[in-house]
Subunit: 213 residues, 2 copies
Amino acid sequence: MTDKPTKRPRDAEATKARILSAAKKEFAKNGLGGARVDIIANQAKANKRMIYHYFGNKEDLFQTVLEEAYVDIRTAEQKLELEHLPPREALERLVRFTWDYYLRNPEFITLVNSENLHRARHLKKSEVIEVVSRRFVNMVGGLLDRGVEQGVFRPGIDPVQLNITIAAIGYYYLTNRFTGSILFQRDLMKDEALEERLAFNIETILRLVCVSR
Amino acid sequence: MTDKPTKRPRDAEATKARILSAAKKEFAKNGLGGARVDIIANQAKANKRMIYHYFGNKEDLFQTVLEEAYVDIRTAEQKLELEHLPPREALERLVRFTWDYYLRNPEFITLVNSENLHRARHLKKSEVIEVVSRRFVNMVGGLLDRGVEQGVFRPGIDPVQLNITIAAIGYYYLTNRFTGSILFQRDLMKDEALEERLAFNIETILRLVCVSR
DNA sequence: CATAGAAGTAACCAGTTAGTGCATTATGTC
DNA sequence: GACATAATGCACTAACTGGTTACTTCTATG
Protein backbone atom coordinates (compact mmCIF):
# COMPACT_ATOMS: atom_id res chain seq x y z
CA MET A 1 0.00 0.00 0.00
CA THR A 2 1.07 3.54 -0.65
CA ASP A 3 -0.15 5.06 2.57
CA LYS A 4 2.62 7.50 3.29
CA PRO A 5 4.85 8.11 0.33
CA THR A 6 7.38 10.61 1.61
CA LYS A 7 7.53 12.29 -1.77
CA ARG A 8 4.73 12.50 -4.20
CA PRO A 9 5.42 14.75 -7.16
CA ARG A 10 1.70 15.07 -7.61
CA ASP A 11 -0.18 15.45 -4.41
CA ALA A 12 -3.48 17.25 -4.55
CA GLU A 13 -3.84 17.57 -0.78
CA ALA A 14 -0.35 18.95 -0.38
CA THR A 15 -0.89 21.45 -3.17
CA LYS A 16 -4.18 22.57 -1.66
CA ALA A 17 -2.48 22.99 1.70
CA ARG A 18 0.34 25.02 0.17
CA ILE A 19 -2.15 27.25 -1.59
CA LEU A 20 -4.15 27.80 1.60
CA SER A 21 -1.05 28.64 3.54
CA ALA A 22 0.21 31.07 0.93
CA ALA A 23 -3.26 32.58 0.61
CA LYS A 24 -3.52 33.15 4.34
CA LYS A 25 -0.23 34.98 4.29
CA GLU A 26 -1.06 37.11 1.27
CA PHE A 27 -4.60 37.96 2.40
CA ALA A 28 -3.32 38.84 5.85
CA LYS A 29 -0.61 41.03 4.40
CA ASN A 30 -2.67 42.92 1.86
CA GLY A 31 -6.32 42.32 2.62
CA LEU A 32 -8.79 40.73 0.27
CA GLY A 33 -8.67 43.56 -2.25
CA GLY A 34 -4.93 44.04 -2.13
CA ALA A 35 -4.02 40.37 -2.32
CA ARG A 36 -2.80 39.15 -5.68
CA VAL A 37 -3.76 35.73 -6.97
CA ASP A 38 -0.53 35.48 -8.95
CA ILE A 39 1.51 36.02 -5.83
CA ILE A 40 -0.43 33.37 -3.95
CA ALA A 41 0.23 30.94 -6.81
CA ASN A 42 3.95 31.69 -6.85
CA GLN A 43 4.34 31.56 -3.08
CA ALA A 44 2.53 28.23 -3.04
CA LYS A 45 4.82 26.96 -5.77
CA ALA A 46 1.64 26.17 -7.62
CA ASN A 47 0.03 27.44 -10.73
CA LYS A 48 -2.72 30.02 -10.75
CA ARG A 49 -4.90 27.52 -12.58
CA MET A 50 -4.68 25.22 -9.56
CA ILE A 51 -6.19 27.87 -7.33
CA TYR A 52 -9.21 28.21 -9.56
CA HIS A 53 -9.39 24.45 -9.90
CA TYR A 54 -9.45 23.76 -6.17
CA PHE A 55 -11.10 26.85 -4.75
CA GLY A 56 -13.30 28.34 -7.44
CA ASN A 57 -12.28 31.96 -7.26
CA LYS A 58 -10.50 34.54 -5.15
CA GLU A 59 -13.47 35.22 -2.88
CA ASP A 60 -14.13 31.56 -2.20
CA LEU A 61 -10.48 31.08 -1.42
CA PHE A 62 -10.68 33.94 1.04
CA GLN A 63 -13.71 32.39 2.67
CA THR A 64 -11.94 29.07 3.09
CA VAL A 65 -8.90 30.76 4.61
CA LEU A 66 -11.10 32.73 6.98
CA GLU A 67 -13.12 29.73 8.12
CA GLU A 68 -9.95 27.79 8.74
CA ALA A 69 -8.59 30.65 10.84
CA TYR A 70 -11.70 30.77 13.01
CA VAL A 71 -11.81 27.03 13.46
CA ASP A 72 -8.14 27.10 14.47
CA ILE A 73 -8.56 29.63 17.26
CA ARG A 74 -11.78 28.10 18.56
CA THR A 75 -10.15 24.66 18.59
CA ALA A 76 -7.19 25.99 20.52
CA GLU A 77 -9.52 27.65 23.01
CA GLN A 78 -11.36 24.41 23.63
CA LYS A 79 -8.08 22.79 24.60
CA LEU A 80 -7.63 25.20 27.49
CA GLU A 81 -9.66 23.01 29.87
CA LEU A 82 -10.66 25.95 32.01
CA GLU A 83 -13.01 23.68 33.98
CA HIS A 84 -10.07 22.08 35.72
CA LEU A 85 -8.86 25.36 37.20
CA PRO A 86 -10.21 27.60 39.95
CA PRO A 87 -12.27 30.43 38.39
CA ARG A 88 -9.76 33.21 38.90
CA GLU A 89 -6.90 31.18 37.47
CA ALA A 90 -9.11 30.02 34.60
CA LEU A 91 -10.01 33.59 33.73
CA GLU A 92 -6.43 34.74 33.84
CA ARG A 93 -5.47 31.81 31.69
CA LEU A 94 -8.06 32.80 29.10
CA VAL A 95 -6.81 36.38 28.97
CA ARG A 96 -3.26 35.15 28.63
CA PHE A 97 -4.20 32.66 25.93
CA THR A 98 -6.10 35.24 23.88
CA TRP A 99 -3.16 37.61 24.01
CA ASP A 100 -0.63 34.94 23.10
CA TYR A 101 -2.75 33.63 20.27
CA TYR A 102 -3.07 37.07 18.68
CA LEU A 103 0.61 37.66 19.18
CA ARG A 104 1.64 34.40 17.54
CA ASN A 105 -0.98 34.48 14.80
CA PRO A 106 -1.02 38.05 13.57
CA GLU A 107 -2.68 36.89 10.34
CA PHE A 108 -5.81 36.12 12.29
CA ILE A 109 -6.29 39.75 13.23
CA THR A 110 -5.71 41.05 9.74
CA LEU A 111 -8.05 38.50 8.21
CA VAL A 112 -10.80 39.48 10.62
CA ASN A 113 -10.20 43.15 9.86
CA SER A 114 -10.44 42.50 6.18
CA GLU A 115 -13.63 40.51 6.62
CA ASN A 116 -15.21 43.34 8.58
CA LEU A 117 -14.23 45.85 5.92
CA HIS A 118 -16.37 43.68 3.66
CA ARG A 119 -19.21 43.62 6.17
CA ALA A 120 -18.66 39.92 6.96
CA ARG A 121 -20.16 38.83 3.69
CA HIS A 122 -18.03 35.66 3.60
CA LEU A 123 -18.66 34.65 7.18
CA LYS A 124 -22.38 35.10 6.56
CA LYS A 125 -22.25 32.27 4.05
CA SER A 126 -20.27 30.03 6.37
CA GLU A 127 -21.94 27.21 8.26
CA VAL A 128 -19.26 25.88 10.58
CA ILE A 129 -18.75 29.21 12.30
CA GLU A 130 -21.91 29.39 14.37
CA VAL A 131 -21.34 26.02 15.97
CA VAL A 132 -17.80 26.65 17.12
CA SER A 133 -18.58 30.16 18.39
CA ARG A 134 -21.58 29.08 20.42
CA ARG A 135 -19.49 26.45 22.13
CA PHE A 136 -16.97 29.14 23.02
CA VAL A 137 -19.50 31.55 24.52
CA ASN A 138 -20.90 28.69 26.57
CA MET A 139 -17.45 27.89 27.87
CA VAL A 140 -16.98 31.42 29.17
CA GLY A 141 -20.55 31.52 30.44
CA GLY A 142 -19.92 28.33 32.40
CA LEU A 143 -16.77 29.77 33.89
CA LEU A 144 -18.62 32.90 34.99
CA ASP A 145 -21.37 30.86 36.63
CA ARG A 146 -18.86 28.75 38.48
CA GLY A 147 -17.06 31.84 39.73
CA VAL A 148 -20.28 33.39 40.97
CA GLU A 149 -21.22 30.15 42.72
CA GLN A 150 -17.91 30.14 44.54
CA GLY A 151 -18.35 33.77 45.48
CA VAL A 152 -15.26 35.01 43.65
CA PHE A 153 -16.95 36.61 40.59
CA ARG A 154 -19.57 39.32 40.54
CA PRO A 155 -22.97 38.11 39.39
CA GLY A 156 -24.78 39.43 36.31
CA ILE A 157 -21.85 39.72 33.90
CA ASP A 158 -22.81 39.02 30.30
CA PRO A 159 -20.42 36.40 28.86
CA VAL A 160 -20.62 38.00 25.42
CA GLN A 161 -19.59 41.41 26.74
CA LEU A 162 -16.77 39.79 28.68
CA ASN A 163 -15.60 37.86 25.63
CA ILE A 164 -15.60 40.99 23.56
CA THR A 165 -13.67 42.89 26.20
CA ILE A 166 -11.02 40.22 26.61
CA ALA A 167 -10.52 40.13 22.87
CA ALA A 168 -10.64 43.90 22.53
CA ILE A 169 -7.85 44.84 24.92
CA GLY A 170 -5.42 42.51 23.16
CA TYR A 171 -6.64 42.86 19.61
CA TYR A 172 -6.69 46.65 19.54
CA TYR A 173 -3.21 46.96 20.94
CA LEU A 174 -1.81 44.58 18.35
CA THR A 175 -3.76 45.59 15.26
CA ASN A 176 -2.94 49.24 15.88
CA ARG A 177 0.65 48.64 16.85
CA PHE A 178 1.99 50.66 13.92
CA THR A 179 -0.03 53.83 14.37
CA GLY A 180 0.15 53.34 18.13
CA SER A 181 3.92 53.26 18.17
CA ILE A 182 3.95 56.60 16.36
CA LEU A 183 1.16 58.25 18.34
CA PHE A 184 2.59 57.28 21.71
CA GLN A 185 6.19 57.54 20.58
CA ARG A 186 7.25 54.24 22.05
CA ASP A 187 7.89 50.83 20.53
CA LEU A 188 4.76 48.92 21.48
CA MET A 189 6.25 45.66 20.22
CA LYS A 190 9.41 45.36 22.26
CA ASP A 191 9.42 42.55 24.80
CA GLU A 192 8.99 44.67 27.91
CA ALA A 193 6.11 46.57 26.34
CA LEU A 194 4.34 43.31 25.47
CA GLU A 195 4.77 41.94 28.97
CA GLU A 196 3.57 45.17 30.48
CA ARG A 197 0.49 45.14 28.30
CA LEU A 198 -0.40 41.55 29.15
CA ALA A 199 -0.12 42.33 32.86
CA PHE A 200 -2.30 45.40 32.40
CA ASN A 201 -4.90 43.36 30.55
CA ILE A 202 -5.05 40.69 33.23
CA GLU A 203 -5.48 43.40 35.84
CA THR A 204 -8.25 45.01 33.79
CA ILE A 205 -10.24 41.81 33.44
CA LEU A 206 -9.76 40.59 37.01
CA ARG A 207 -10.88 43.94 38.37
CA LEU A 208 -13.88 43.83 36.10
CA VAL A 209 -14.99 40.33 36.99
CA CYS A 210 -13.84 39.54 40.52
CA VAL A 211 -15.61 40.72 43.66
CA SER A 212 -13.63 43.34 45.55
CA ARG A 213 -12.06 41.84 48.61
CA MET B 1 -14.82 93.31 -2.73
CA THR B 2 -15.69 89.72 -3.47
CA ASP B 3 -15.32 88.35 0.01
CA LYS B 4 -18.15 85.81 0.10
CA PRO B 5 -19.54 85.13 -3.35
CA THR B 6 -22.28 82.60 -2.73
CA LYS B 7 -21.51 80.87 -5.99
CA ARG B 8 -18.22 80.68 -7.65
CA PRO B 9 -18.08 78.42 -10.70
CA ARG B 10 -14.41 77.97 -10.01
CA ASP B 11 -13.51 77.64 -6.40
CA ALA B 12 -10.31 75.79 -5.68
CA GLU B 13 -10.90 75.54 -1.94
CA ALA B 14 -14.39 74.20 -2.37
CA THR B 15 -13.23 71.64 -4.92
CA LYS B 16 -10.43 70.52 -2.65
CA ALA B 17 -12.86 70.15 0.23
CA ARG B 18 -15.27 68.13 -1.87
CA ILE B 19 -12.46 65.85 -2.99
CA LEU B 20 -11.27 65.33 0.59
CA SER B 21 -14.74 64.52 1.77
CA ALA B 22 -15.39 62.06 -1.03
CA ALA B 23 -11.96 60.51 -0.54
CA LYS B 24 -12.56 60.00 3.16
CA LYS B 25 -15.76 58.18 2.38
CA GLU B 26 -14.27 56.01 -0.36
CA PHE B 27 -11.09 55.16 1.56
CA ALA B 28 -13.15 54.31 4.63
CA LYS B 29 -15.44 52.11 2.62
CA ASN B 30 -12.88 50.19 0.64
CA GLY B 31 -9.50 50.79 2.22
CA LEU B 32 -6.51 52.34 0.47
CA GLY B 33 -6.09 49.48 -1.98
CA GLY B 34 -9.76 49.00 -2.72
CA ALA B 35 -10.59 52.69 -3.14
CA ARG B 36 -11.03 53.87 -6.72
CA VAL B 37 -9.77 57.28 -7.78
CA ASP B 38 -12.46 57.54 -10.44
CA ILE B 39 -15.17 57.03 -7.84
CA ILE B 40 -13.67 59.70 -5.61
CA ALA B 41 -13.65 62.09 -8.55
CA ASN B 42 -17.27 61.38 -9.45
CA GLN B 43 -18.51 61.55 -5.87
CA ALA B 44 -16.74 64.87 -5.43
CA LYS B 45 -18.33 66.16 -8.63
CA ALA B 46 -14.80 66.87 -9.71
CA ASN B 47 -12.53 65.54 -12.37
CA LYS B 48 -9.88 62.96 -11.73
CA ARG B 49 -7.40 65.45 -13.08
CA MET B 50 -8.21 67.73 -10.16
CA ILE B 51 -7.23 65.11 -7.64
CA TYR B 52 -3.80 64.77 -9.17
CA HIS B 53 -3.56 68.52 -9.53
CA TYR B 54 -4.29 69.23 -5.87
CA PHE B 55 -3.03 66.16 -4.06
CA GLY B 56 -0.31 64.62 -6.21
CA ASN B 57 -1.33 61.00 -6.16
CA LYS B 58 -3.58 58.47 -4.47
CA GLU B 59 -1.22 57.81 -1.57
CA ASP B 60 -0.71 61.48 -0.80
CA LEU B 61 -4.45 61.98 -0.89
CA PHE B 62 -4.83 59.15 1.59
CA GLN B 63 -2.25 60.70 3.85
CA THR B 64 -4.05 64.03 3.82
CA VAL B 65 -7.38 62.36 4.62
CA LEU B 66 -5.79 60.41 7.45
CA GLU B 67 -4.07 63.43 8.98
CA GLU B 68 -7.29 65.38 8.84
CA ALA B 69 -9.11 62.54 10.60
CA TYR B 70 -6.58 62.44 13.43
CA VAL B 71 -6.56 66.19 13.86
CA ASP B 72 -10.36 66.13 13.99
CA ILE B 73 -10.61 63.63 16.84
CA ARG B 74 -7.79 65.16 18.84
CA THR B 75 -9.37 68.60 18.45
CA ALA B 76 -12.71 67.28 19.67
CA GLU B 77 -11.00 65.66 22.65
CA GLN B 78 -9.35 68.91 23.63
CA LYS B 79 -12.76 70.53 23.82
CA LEU B 80 -13.89 68.13 26.56
CA GLU B 81 -12.46 70.36 29.31
CA LEU B 82 -11.96 67.44 31.65
CA GLU B 83 -10.14 69.73 34.07
CA HIS B 84 -13.40 71.33 35.09
CA LEU B 85 -14.92 68.06 36.28
CA PRO B 86 -14.22 65.84 39.31
CA PRO B 87 -11.87 63.00 38.29
CA ARG B 88 -14.46 60.22 38.22
CA GLU B 89 -16.89 62.24 36.15
CA ALA B 90 -14.10 63.38 33.86
CA LEU B 91 -13.01 59.79 33.26
CA GLU B 92 -16.53 58.65 32.54
CA ARG B 93 -16.97 61.56 30.19
CA LEU B 94 -13.84 60.56 28.30
CA VAL B 95 -15.04 56.97 27.90
CA ARG B 96 -18.42 58.19 26.75
CA PHE B 97 -16.89 60.66 24.31
CA THR B 98 -14.56 58.07 22.78
CA TRP B 99 -17.45 55.68 22.24
CA ASP B 100 -19.71 58.35 20.75
CA TYR B 101 -17.00 59.63 18.49
CA TYR B 102 -16.31 56.18 17.02
CA LEU B 103 -20.03 55.58 16.66
CA ARG B 104 -20.63 58.84 14.82
CA ASN B 105 -17.45 58.74 12.77
CA PRO B 106 -17.13 55.15 11.60
CA GLU B 107 -14.78 56.28 8.82
CA PHE B 108 -12.18 57.09 11.44
CA ILE B 109 -11.94 53.47 12.50
CA THR B 110 -11.72 52.13 8.98
CA LEU B 111 -9.08 54.66 8.01
CA VAL B 112 -6.95 53.70 10.99
CA ASN B 113 -7.36 50.02 10.16
CA SER B 114 -6.27 50.63 6.61
CA GLU B 115 -3.27 52.63 7.77
CA ASN B 116 -2.20 49.82 10.06
CA LEU B 117 -2.54 47.28 7.27
CA HIS B 118 0.07 49.42 5.55
CA ARG B 119 2.24 49.50 8.63
CA ALA B 120 1.54 53.20 9.23
CA ARG B 121 3.77 54.26 6.39
CA HIS B 122 1.74 57.43 5.78
CA LEU B 123 1.53 58.48 9.40
CA LYS B 124 5.28 58.03 9.65
CA LYS B 125 5.74 60.82 7.15
CA SER B 126 3.30 63.11 8.92
CA GLU B 127 4.49 65.96 11.10
CA VAL B 128 1.36 67.31 12.74
CA ILE B 129 0.44 63.99 14.35
CA GLU B 130 3.05 63.84 17.09
CA VAL B 131 2.13 67.22 18.49
CA VAL B 132 -1.59 66.60 18.79
CA SER B 133 -1.14 63.11 20.27
CA ARG B 134 1.32 64.20 22.92
CA ARG B 135 -1.09 66.85 24.06
CA PHE B 136 -3.77 64.18 24.37
CA VAL B 137 -1.65 61.78 26.44
CA ASN B 138 -0.77 64.65 28.73
CA MET B 139 -4.42 65.45 29.20
CA VAL B 140 -5.18 61.94 30.40
CA GLY B 141 -1.99 61.86 32.46
CA GLY B 142 -3.06 65.06 34.17
CA LEU B 143 -6.46 63.63 34.94
CA LEU B 144 -4.93 60.51 36.45
CA ASP B 145 -2.61 62.57 38.66
CA ARG B 146 -5.49 64.69 39.85
CA GLY B 147 -7.53 61.61 40.70
CA VAL B 148 -4.67 60.06 42.67
CA GLU B 149 -4.16 63.32 44.55
CA GLN B 150 -7.79 63.35 45.56
CA GLY B 151 -7.59 59.73 46.63
CA VAL B 152 -10.16 58.46 44.13
CA PHE B 153 -7.83 56.87 41.55
CA ARG B 154 -5.28 54.13 42.13
CA PRO B 155 -1.69 55.34 41.78
CA GLY B 156 0.74 54.00 39.21
CA ILE B 157 -1.54 53.68 36.20
CA ASP B 158 0.22 54.34 32.90
CA PRO B 159 -1.77 56.96 30.94
CA VAL B 160 -0.78 55.33 27.66
CA GLN B 161 -2.11 51.93 28.74
CA LEU B 162 -5.29 53.56 29.95
CA ASN B 163 -5.72 55.46 26.70
CA ILE B 164 -5.25 52.30 24.70
CA THR B 165 -7.73 50.42 26.84
CA ILE B 166 -10.41 53.10 26.62
CA ALA B 167 -10.03 53.17 22.87
CA ALA B 168 -9.84 49.38 22.58
CA ILE B 169 -13.11 48.47 24.28
CA GLY B 170 -15.07 50.78 22.01
CA TYR B 171 -13.07 50.39 18.83
CA TYR B 172 -13.00 46.60 18.81
CA TYR B 173 -16.72 46.30 19.37
CA LEU B 174 -17.48 48.66 16.50
CA THR B 175 -14.87 47.63 13.95
CA ASN B 176 -15.83 43.98 14.40
CA ARG B 177 -19.55 44.59 14.52
CA PHE B 178 -20.18 42.53 11.38
CA THR B 179 -18.31 39.37 12.33
CA GLY B 180 -19.34 39.88 15.94
CA SER B 181 -23.03 39.97 15.12
CA ILE B 182 -22.65 36.60 13.37
CA LEU B 183 -20.38 34.99 15.97
CA PHE B 184 -22.55 35.99 18.90
CA GLN B 185 -25.80 35.72 16.98
CA ARG B 186 -27.17 39.03 18.12
CA ASP B 187 -27.43 42.42 16.47
CA LEU B 188 -24.59 44.33 18.08
CA MET B 189 -25.74 47.58 16.50
CA LYS B 190 -29.30 47.92 17.74
CA ASP B 191 -29.88 50.75 20.18
CA GLU B 192 -30.19 48.66 23.34
CA ALA B 193 -27.02 46.74 22.49
CA LEU B 194 -25.11 49.98 22.01
CA GLU B 195 -26.32 51.40 25.30
CA GLU B 196 -25.50 48.18 27.09
CA ARG B 197 -22.01 48.19 25.67
CA LEU B 198 -21.33 51.78 26.66
CA ALA B 199 -22.47 51.04 30.22
CA PHE B 200 -20.23 47.97 30.29
CA ASN B 201 -17.28 49.99 29.06
CA ILE B 202 -17.75 52.69 31.68
CA GLU B 203 -17.94 50.00 34.35
CA THR B 204 -14.77 48.37 33.02
CA ILE B 205 -12.74 51.57 33.10
CA LEU B 206 -14.01 52.83 36.46
CA ARG B 207 -13.24 49.48 38.07
CA LEU B 208 -9.80 49.57 36.54
CA VAL B 209 -8.91 53.08 37.64
CA CYS B 210 -10.84 53.88 40.80
CA VAL B 211 -9.85 52.75 44.27
CA SER B 212 -12.20 50.15 45.66
CA ARG B 213 -14.45 51.67 48.28
C1' DC C 1 1.34 -1.99 -19.88
C1' DA C 2 -2.33 0.73 -21.66
C1' DT C 3 -5.14 4.28 -20.56
C1' DA C 4 -8.49 7.33 -18.20
C1' DG C 5 -8.53 10.91 -15.56
C1' DA C 6 -6.31 13.85 -12.31
C1' DA C 7 -2.48 17.23 -11.67
C1' DG C 8 -0.05 20.72 -13.54
C1' DT C 9 1.54 24.57 -16.95
C1' DA C 10 2.08 28.60 -20.05
C1' DA C 11 0.12 31.92 -22.72
C1' DC C 12 -3.47 34.71 -23.19
C1' DC C 13 -7.76 37.80 -22.74
C1' DA C 14 -10.89 41.27 -21.45
C1' DG C 15 -11.71 44.51 -18.20
C1' DT C 16 -9.88 47.79 -14.99
C1' DT C 17 -7.02 51.37 -12.92
C1' DA C 18 -3.65 54.95 -11.58
C1' DG C 19 -1.82 58.45 -13.77
C1' DT C 20 -0.99 62.10 -17.91
C1' DG C 21 -0.85 65.30 -22.10
C1' DC C 22 -3.01 68.80 -23.86
C1' DA C 23 -6.62 71.80 -25.00
C1' DT C 24 -10.17 74.84 -22.96
C1' DT C 25 -12.36 77.98 -19.85
C1' DA C 26 -12.79 81.16 -16.20
C1' DT C 27 -10.73 84.87 -13.08
C1' DG C 28 -8.34 88.68 -11.23
C1' DT C 29 -5.45 92.57 -12.56
C1' DC C 30 -3.67 96.29 -15.10
C1' DG D 1 -10.54 94.31 -22.83
C1' DA D 2 -6.30 91.88 -22.95
C1' DC D 3 -3.31 88.96 -20.71
C1' DA D 4 -1.21 85.89 -17.34
C1' DT D 5 -2.50 82.36 -14.48
C1' DA D 6 -5.22 79.06 -12.22
C1' DA D 7 -9.06 75.70 -12.74
C1' DT D 8 -11.20 72.22 -15.41
C1' DG D 9 -12.32 68.53 -18.75
C1' DC D 10 -11.53 64.81 -21.99
C1' DA D 11 -9.38 61.29 -24.05
C1' DC D 12 -5.67 58.34 -23.71
C1' DT D 13 -2.10 54.76 -22.12
C1' DA D 14 0.75 51.58 -19.92
C1' DA D 15 0.59 48.39 -16.52
C1' DC D 16 -1.96 45.22 -14.02
C1' DT D 17 -5.30 41.58 -12.62
C1' DG D 18 -8.80 37.99 -12.13
C1' DG D 19 -10.03 34.47 -14.69
C1' DT D 20 -9.74 31.10 -18.85
C1' DT D 21 -8.34 28.22 -22.88
C1' DA D 22 -5.84 24.75 -24.64
C1' DC D 23 -2.46 21.86 -23.70
C1' DT D 24 1.13 18.48 -21.47
C1' DT D 25 2.57 15.28 -17.85
C1' DC D 26 2.02 12.08 -14.41
C1' DT D 27 -0.10 8.14 -11.79
C1' DA D 28 -3.14 4.67 -10.21
C1' DT D 29 -5.55 0.71 -11.63
C1' DG D 30 -7.53 -3.17 -14.12
